[in-house]
């Protein structure tokens, strides 16, 4: 298996090059003119200003040359400068990626746990009230748009009953903990600041729930269907005939056999949410990758768009590799070669 992982790791730079190339080329086929993002509207008719801006950003050079310059910069870790923020795209991403990761990790822990528990219960108590309830919950989770459920829950919990704070990652009056991981919950714990930790956790709760809910819907339906299949297999009867408790039969024997398809969905959802949690991030004013991507796309901020695309691609590459490795752990019949 280590040879397999090595091969995958060796292939990775080539895949990254592919992602970079495609991301770079996509920006050139869009109709929009990036100069509109750089030059003020009233200056667009001034040829001198336009020419200066083009020279400044290298837009006057031919495409192959621009591509080679970009690749060269990328190799030295430079993702270029954002047209809008005028900061290095890498710096912007390093600021926003941890926020997204913290949100997505929390959402995945939440959604996966909830999805598996509900799926197992629904399958075990098939056609009972629990089953119907779990299916209704899953249906709402995967079909309610986030801007509806997010706003609704925010209104109820933050405005009506006032149990949870409003949007944002942290109360503005609190100091940011020293950045180690970029996860406010972890950094505040590392700094020993319980007040900040609590506040960060409270802020995280609702967006993580809203995002996790959508994931839990998919997972619970998948787990339910697979559990129904597995529970009717003979080895479940064998386990019962051994004298195993129902809990043991369900968790140790049946659930493990449903893990491969579940891992696939978990991996895919995770990678997708790294750049795809736009609506949740927008509603909860979460300074993450999704909102950054939308801002960049709206402003034709090419360096930022390419940067986000690369991060999104990397997220899929890494998640796929991790998922493949976990397949082997979950199912010994899977051979990686």
């Amino acid at each position: 298996m280590s040879r397999y992982i090595l091969r995958r790791l060796i292939a990775m730079p080539f895949l990254v090059l592919g992602i970079v190339t495609i991301a770079f080329l996509i920006t050139t086929v869009t109709k929009g003119d990036p100069l509109t993002a750089i030059v003020a509207e009233q200056q667009m008719s001034n040829p001198e200003v336009v020419a200066a801006a083009k020279a400044r950003w290298g837009l006057d050079r031919p495409l192959p040359e621009r591509y080679m310059i970009y690749l060269g910069n990328l190799l030295s870790g430079d993702l270029g400068t954002s047209f809008i923020t005028k900061r290095n795209v890498g710096t912007d991403i390093l600021y926003r990626l941890p926020a997204t990761l913290e949100l997505v990790f929390a959402a995945m822990i939440f959604g996966t746990t909830l999805g598996i528990v509900l799926g197992v219960l629904a399958a075990y108590f098939r056609n009972s009230l629990i089953d119907h309830g779990a299916r209704l919950f899953a249906l709402f989770g995967s079909s309610l748009p986030v801007f509806w459920s997010g706003l609704g829950l925010l209104f109820i919990f933050s405005v009506v009953v006032n149990w949870l704070p409003g949007p944002g990652r942290l109360d503005a009056r609190l100091p940011l903990p020293p950045g180690v991981t970029g996860f406010l919950t972890i950094d505040s714990l590392l700094a020993g600041n319980i007040t900040v930790f609590k506040d960060a956790l409270w802020h995280l709760l609702l967006p993580a729930f809203v995002l996790g809910w959508t994931v839990s819907g998919t997972i619970s339906r998948l787990v339910r269907a697979n559990m129904l299949d597995v529970m009717s297999r003979e080895f479940v009867l064998t386990a019962r005939a051994k004298g195993a408790s129902e809990f043991r039969v369900v968790i140790v024997h049946a659930l493990r056999n449903t893990m491969v398809p579940t891992l696939t969905v978990i991996g895919y959802s995770f990678a997708y949410l790294i750049t795809g949690a736009v609506l949740t991030e927008t509603i909860f004013s979460w300074p993450g990758m999704g909102s950054y991507a939308v801002e960049a796309a709206r402003a034709l901020d090419f360096p930022a768009i390419i940067g986000v695309t690369i991060v999104g691609g990397l997220a899929f590459l890494v998640t796929n590799l991790v998922t493949d490795i976990l397949y082997v752990v979950a199912n010994p019949r899977v051979r990686l070669s």
Binding site: R233, E234, F235, L237, T238, A239, R240, A241, K242, G243, A244, S245, E246, H253, R256, N257, A330, N331, P332, R333
Partner: protein, 356 residues
């Protein structure tokens, strides 16, 4: 054939004093979408210590469901009534927690398909060790050592290596051996084997049966062999219960049953065993097919297919009559014409239902 039979199990025919397992009037009903049907309509059966009892019947006759119900392994919508006593202890209605202490420890059960009766994501050793640790206070290491011993007991070569392999690395026959090893892990008193060889090749079938038999003799197990194969019963059982449409229709020692079956269904079954000497004849088969559950004919369930049917059979379901150490549920159990077991053809002469 009968000579071979009596030599096979002639020593073990004496009537047991106190049965290990005693089933009386076992009935299993299922509720499904408002309707209700009975899969088992009355099984009476005794199994003594160290005795091999065959249960024979067609698919869907209720033979497996009956034994699953005895162990409390039927699905949640099953209604089980009657009495199942194990060493005098009533099992029907026993709390699940107490049943779990008996299952796998005192009574073990193995199933038909060795390909699917082992958990594909656990090593064979872990599954055997689990069976051990569910009933004995042992460390994981001790239980794994016991698993190696058990694999050796069922004649699996290189048990130290095999113990850490997964089921898909085992052949079908080896998986069934592993399943048997798991079943005898806690030295049970009774082993119920539900069609243990049906899914296997003929040569492997013989191996598995010999493993089962040698274990049964060595450990003094009571063994219940559920099968649709009369050959298996003839070669390995002391006594046989024939099940039709959810009830026992005949019960006798193997030699009595084959020499002189006292139920027309049993006669039909024996007559339909292929005969090598008269291979040119068309194989005898009982006409018709078993009735669907929940749509049983009135009277004796076998009467639409029986060649001896009279008016009485359509009205009255015959009780299981004691014929002196053997039982038959036929109105004409004592008056049936003589049966020539040596040749299925002679049975077919009476019925006249065979085409030359």
């Amino acid at each position: 054939m009968s000579a071979q039979l009596s030599s096979a199990r002639s020593g073990a025919i004496e009537k047991p004093a106190d049965p290990l397992l005693s089933i009386r009037g076992l009935r299993v009903g299922f509720r499904k979408a408002g309707s209700q049907f009975e899969a088992v309509r009355g099984i009476d059966l005794d199994v003594a210590k160290g005795e091999v009892v065959g249960i024979v019947g067609e698919s869907g006759s209720g033979k497996s469901v009956g034994m699953l119900a005895a162990l409390g392994l039927t699905s949640k919508n099953a209604v089980v009534t009657g009495s199942v006593r194990f060493k005098g202890d009533e099992l029907v209605g026993k709390p699940a927690r107490e049943m779990r202490r008996i299952r796998g420890a005192r009574i073990a059960m193995i199933f038909q398909d060795p390909l699917s009766s082992l958990n594909p994501v656990m090593t064979v050793g872990a599954q055997i060790a689990e069976a051990v640790r569910l009933h004995q206070r042992l460390t994981h290491r001790q239980a794994m050592a016991r698993a190696v011993e058990l694999l050796a007991l069922v004649a699996i070569p290189q048990p130290e290596r095999r113990v850490s392999q997964y089921p898909h690395e085992f052949s079908g026959g080896m998986r069934q051996r592993a399943v048997i090893a798991m079943a005898v892990a806690n030295d049970p008193d009774l082993l119920i084997a539900d069609e243990p060889t049906t899914a296997l090749d003929v040569t492997v079938q013989a191996q598995i049966l010999s493993v089962l038999r040698s274990l049964q003799e060595r450990l003094g197990l009571g063994l219940v062999l559920i099968t649709h194969d009369l050959g298996v019963v003839a070669g390995h059982a002391d006594r046989v219960a024939v099940v039709y449409s959810g009830r026992v229709v005949e019960q006798a020692t193997v030699s009595d049953l084959f020499a002189d079956p006292r139920h027309p269904y049993t006669r039909g079954l024996i007559a339909s065993i292929p005969n090598l000497e008269e291979s040119r004849e068309r194989l005898f088969s009982i006409e018709g097919s078993p009735p669907a559950l929940g749509r049983l004919p009135g009277g004796c369930a076998f009467h639409p297919r029986c060649i001896h049917t009279e008016a009485r059979c359509r009205e009255q379901d015959p009780p299981l009559l004691d014929l002196g150490g053997r039982f038959s549920a036929c109105h004409f159990a004592t008056t049936l014409p003589p049966f020539h077991s040596a040749s299925p053809a002679s049975a077919s002469l009476e019925t006249g239902s065979i085409a030359p």
